[in-house]
């Protein structure tokens, strides 16, 4: 059941209706039944794996929670009698016990993910395990990472363990988010799912607006550009020069429209029930450098990697010690940067692997990691060059150049995950610099499955999207905050007839201009495959 299908909208509408029909204390039960029904309707053969991850994580969470409370009770009871060293030793003993439990749960949770998603073909080829009949469970990367975050947060004593397995099952499988995130944190989402919200007209209208906006991006922009990208990437040998660059550019827009559109639909459905899921995008193509880009793109994944990979590696005593030794050889700056560089590569290796096991995904991670590391290493040179050229880093011209430069780096990097393989990605990348003398560029563009009207529609809708993004960006700069709700708040201040006119025009645009396949089903979301 695709998030952009009519069936999903009917399903979500019934769920929202039932949610408000039952008393507050039973609302979470409605959500759990709806979430499991959604999963069984979408991916019945793999349902058992969601149950498995839920059970493992729940039991593991209770065990870690027990260690936390035992240590706390011990520390409280002996607060005045133990020396500082004894307190440290007691804490270390508790940490070791917790680490063993965490390691076991992670091996089990990620083991399921690894077998079903990464090693299935190798295991089958080696005759060790027959995975031929098994599909990859829907949303497995999303719910596994969300479960791992829960375990890490318990280990760090940031949260209390859930004591109700049915409620925890809802946290793991909440239906709007299980397909493609955002990967929520327990302390952000769980209480909202469990507490039950009274009906508020504002929640319903805001949620509906978000859903409509998601459909606008997915059906009008993403699914239209998917036709062009499918043609060029599917027949890459036939294209070179500007056509390949245009396809990469279109894919850069397509994946943003597709993924953020899906997230808007998911967040919108949740918002209709008063549940505020985290943002996953913050106008990423306005970033000044690639680090900032990853702080604005797929935020829930990059923050997951930041909190559970980057920080632990960058701040680890082991890499810190090596960094200190390297200071004597390479100087203070490089020595200090060493743990950060290692952490960056670990982070982007994980981001690459998160998308899949193929080498093209690893290359995608390494490409991003290397660009960021080069940026760090060359920073003093760049600062010196700017000073010599009398260019102020705060000037509008330089800032604008940085945005264009970062966008170009992102566009080039997109070739890795989208191309059929790493080899194809390289071939396509270098074919961009080969000029096709035979057919004029405009003629090639008209042969990629889109008509002139299609290009006009995409351009007009992207212009609307760009204007909204600029408005939000300006609002963030002037008023502070992240600006993600600035446009909606401005809409709220408009007179009612104007607001309705905008919304109805948007709805009409989705119905008339959306790209629909057989049976009026939209094409699948790209991130649904992860």
């Amino acid at each position: 059941m695709a998030l952009s299908s009519l069936v999903f909208i009917i399903f979500a509408a019934i769920c929202i209706g039932l949610y408000y029909a039952v008393p507050d204390r039973w609302k979470w039960v409605v959500l759990l039944i709806a979430s499991y029904a959604f999963y069984l309707l979408s991916s019945p053969k793999t349902f058992i794996f969601v149950l498995l991850t839920t059970a493992i994580t729940y039991i593991g969470g209770r065990l870690i929670g027990k260690c936390n409370s035992e240590h706390k009770a011990f520390a409280d009871a002996h607060r005045d009698t133990l020396s500082k060293e004894e307190k440290k030793a007691a804490k270390a003993a508790s940490q070791i016990k917790k680490r063993k439990i965490v390691a076991l749960i992670l091996v089990l949770d990620f083991g399921v993910l690894a077998v079903l998603k990464y090693f299935r073909y190798y295991l089958q080829a080696a005759g060790i395990f027959d995975t031929g009949e098994l599909l990859i469970p829907l949303g497995i990367s999303f719910y596994t990472f969300q479960s791992a975050a829960y375990i890490f947060d318990l280990y760090r004593n940031k949260i209390e363990p859930d004591t109700n397995i049915a409620k925890f099952a809802l946290f793991t499988a909440f239906f709007p988010q299980i397909v493609q995130g955002p990967i929520a944190r327990y302390d952000q989402l769980a209480h909202q799912l469990y507490e039950g919200h009274r009906f508020k007209y504002r929640n319903l209208t805001h949620g509906a607006q978000l859903i409509l906006w998601g459909f606008f991006k997915k059906l009008i922009i993403a699914d239209r550009l998917a036709i062009l990208c499918g043609e060029v990437f599917g027949n890459h040998g036939d294209y070179s020069g500007g056509a390949v660059f245009a396809a990469l550019l279109c894919y850069t827009v397509q994946i943003y429209a597709d993924f953020s559109g899906g997230i808007d639909i998911a967040r919108g459905v949740a918002q209709c029930m008063g549940i505020d899921m985290p943002h996953n995008f913050r106008r990423p193509y306005f970033s000044h450098d690639l680090s900032e880009f990853w702080n604005r793109w797929h935020i829930s994944l990059s923050h997951w990697c930041r909190d559970y990979i980057f920080y632990p590696v960058a701040m680890s005593k082991f890499f810190g010690r090596i960094g200190k030794q390297l200071r004597n050889v390479f100087g203070d700056r490089l020595g200090k940067l060493f743990p950060v560089i290692i952490a960056q590569y670990c982070t982007f290796l994980m981001i690459g692997l998160w998308h899949g096991a193929a080498f093209k995904y690893i290359a995608y991670g390494l490409y991003n990691g290397t660009v960021i590391v080069l940026g760090l290493l060359l920073e003093p040179l760049l600062k010196g060059a700017l000073a010599k050229l009398h260019i102020s880093p705060a000037s509008k011209g330089w800032k604008g150049f940085q945005i264009v430069r970062t966008f170009f780096i992102v566009v080039c990097g997109r070739v890795f995950p989208r191309a059929a393989s790493f080899g194809v990605a390289l071939t396509m990348f270098f074919s961009m610099f080969r000029i096709n003398h035979g057919v004029p560029f405009s003629e090639t563009m008209m042969s990629l499955g889109l008509t002139g009207i299609d290009y006009l529609i995409v351009a007009a809708c992207c212009a609307i999207w760009l204007m909204i993004s600029i408005y939000e960006e300006r609002s963030a700069r002037i008023n502070g905050g992240d600006g993600t709700t600035a446009f909606r708040e401005m809409m709220d201040r408009l007179p009612l007839p104007v607001r309705w006119a905008i919304l109805l025009t948007g709805l009409a645009a989705v119905l008339v201009l959306g790209v629909y396949g057989p049976g009026y089903n939209a094409s699948a979301f790209i991130y649904r495959g992860f």
């Binding site: 960058a314 701040m315 200090k336 760090l376 502070g480």
Partner: protein
Amino acid sequence: MRETVLGILTGIRGDIDFENETRLIDDNILASLDIVAIVGEFNDEFDVEISVEDLVPDNFNSLDAMVELITRAQE
């Protein structure tokens, strides 16, 4: 201690008004690279052990919050 902390912070990010900003993490003003650099400097300067567990927004949102974090770590 406050002055030393302020000196470290402005040494790493001279473009931020640390005296008045109170949402350094919540508003994405400080990046993860800044945090790692700041923690490294704090650990060296004040001989404390700020760990990954301490990396929560409340501890780094403002100058005062960071001073408080170091004070706690010294106890």
